[in-house]
Amino acid sequence: MIGAIAIGVAGGVVAGMLGVGGGVLFVPGLVIFLNLSQHQAEATSLLAIIPVAIVGTYKQDRYGNVRRGDALLLGLLSLGGAAGGVALANALSGRALRDAFAALILIVAAQFVRRALARPA
């Protein structure tokens, strides 16, 4: 339980500071510290992301940064892809899904290193 709360706080702080969803930290946290399977961790992460995204959207919208029409369109258009992604994830073995996820977070890590080095201090 303490582990889950720690994962949440850490993921949230990073999300707030760097503008990424907490998912890239929630999933490995749930696997490594709570011993969920890769499939369970991904599914649980999706549910955990919702309150974070709602609060983030509310705050950003007050600053006038959310383009509501585009967001709605984007959200609705993505539903087919999301259904396909979930079906694909459940068709893969835990090992294959886990290795693909590891590759994904390495790519995200590389993006952040590039961003950090590109930006003047």
Partner: protein, 111 residues
């Protein structure tokens, strides 16, 4: 349309919000500035994550209690993170975050 489909696929497959796909594409293809892209992406993620979580629920993969234990404290974390963002150097944080991701990837593959 392509952005939406790619983001949805990504989100459903990997259990992440899809922001890492949406934000760069909004900037590159639709000429968004980074702040509007991040904000608009967050709003779209509410829909994507809700739908994908519901679909995963049908497969019986969602641990609701764990999701609440992670998701609710995360809201506090976001508020704190947004506040902190104005006060510390984002560059070192980006590098630290990257290091945590690399360590996580290694740990996942070796398990």
């Amino acid at each position: 349309m392509a952005i939406g489909t790619a983001a949805g696929l990504f989100s459903g497959l990997f259990g992440v919000g899809g922001g890492s796909v949406i934000v760069p594409l909004l900037v590159l293809w639709l000429g968004y500035d980074e702040r509007s892209a991040t904000a608009t992406s967050l709003a779209a993620i509410v829909f994507i994550a809700a739908f994908a979580a519901g679909t995963q629920g049908l497969y019986g993969n969602v641990h609701v209690l764990d999701a609440l234990l992670v998701g609710v404290p995360a809201v506090g974390g976001v508020l704190f993170g947004t506040w902190l963002q104005q006060r510390v150097d984002n560059r070192s944080l980006s590098l630290l975050f990257a290091a945590v991701l690399v360590a996580s990837a290694v740990e996942l593959v070796l398990r």
